[in-house]
Symmetry: C2
Subunit: 208 residues, 2 copies
């Protein structure tokens, strides 16, 4: 009896420590996969197609958007970046759990195209603490700090309706363990267990 | 910041090993509570009101059903048994996770009255194995075995639409650990985190 993989989308405001938390998550939990993103930017030295990125022309990428093959996409510095649906689907079918690290608009698209997706939002312990973390980075001038905080505020208003789970990132370790707990619980969800259920119902039919 | 307790309803066909699994769950996880059931049967020697059961008259119990104070109830040997809503609500408000061990019709009522309830169904590894376990009990004559299996079949058809999580009881230890995982994940669910979300949104409002 085989279960379907769990598709976990992780979002959070910038400065919340999402990158570090996900890095720790991959250290404490095996059987997790990042899907390889597609992009239209040129490969850099040493980057391998299908490993670091799936490199596409602008025409191919736009075709994939039109046909629904991109679960979500965004444009940075004039290049497309996105998550191909078929690569994610293949892993899920093989019982592998897939992690997507994307912002709130992308998460909304993924949920629309794959309703089984489980959406996790990482919260700061407080807004004060988020401010401190952003200032601590020393990479923000005042204007960009204000802009990031403004984005965080409006995200925090949208997140409660959209996301399934909320994690307070008080420490990286706690936050990573909580995401691990969510994945382990979701491995028993109706969506993940649909094949197992089908098999036992068939067996019951044959014996009844 | 305080979270709301998780209300977990556990069901499964007779013979699946639900009782042993729940016993093991309480050994490996603290902070779990059974709610005290209400009943109209007479207290036995040594039974304390409010500890073993909340003892009620038939009139009191029927009044509680009418006012919606009974999350679910059933009749055995002419006596009412049920789960009082206020006792469960109080524990959830105080951040305590509550386990209810009830059959499928009761679970349906609980979900209707408290939509945040998380419904877990325990499956046998196979129908053959369920048969073996029922026969192994040596307490079943052929007629009652056939009746229990028939009930199990019809439950298995109803469960996939109703329940949120499905656990295969291959070993008691695995099944107990999986329920523990589900509880830990659900402690981060939207329902459990509503107060935390409210507080951080209020803080954001005040700073914006």
């Amino acid at each position: 009896m085989s279960r379907r993989g769990v598709l976990l989308v992780i979002s959070g405001p910038s400065g919340v420590g999402k990158g570090t938390t996900i890095k720790r998550l991959f250290e404490i939990e095996d059987n997790l996969y990042f899907s390889v993103s597609a992009t239209t930017r040129k490969p850099r030295e040493g980057e391998i197609d299908g490993v670091h990125y799936s490199f596409k022309t602008k025409e191919q990428f736009e075709h994939d958007i039109e046909t629904g093959e991109m679960l979500e996409h965004a444009v940075f510095s004039g290049n497309y970046y996105g998550t191909p649906k078929s690569a994610v689907e293949e892993k899920l079918l093989n019982g592998k759990d897939v992690i997507l690290d994307i912002e709130i608009q992308g998460a909304k698209n993924v949920k629309r195209m794959l309703p089984e997706a489980v959406l996790v939002y990482i919260l700061p312990p407080s807004i004060e603490e988020l401010k401190k973390r952003l200032i601590g980075r020393n990479t923000e001038d005042e204007e960009s700090l204000a802009k990031r905080l403004h984005t965080a505020y409006s995200e925090l208003h949208e997140a409660p309706d959209m996301y399934d789970y909320f994690i307070v990132n008080d420490t990286v370790e706690n936050a990573a363990v909580k995401i691990k707990d969510i994945i382990e619980g979701e491995r028993c969800s109706k969506a993940a267990m649909q094949e197992v259920l089908k098999q036992i119902l068939e067996e019951a039919e044959n014996l009844a």
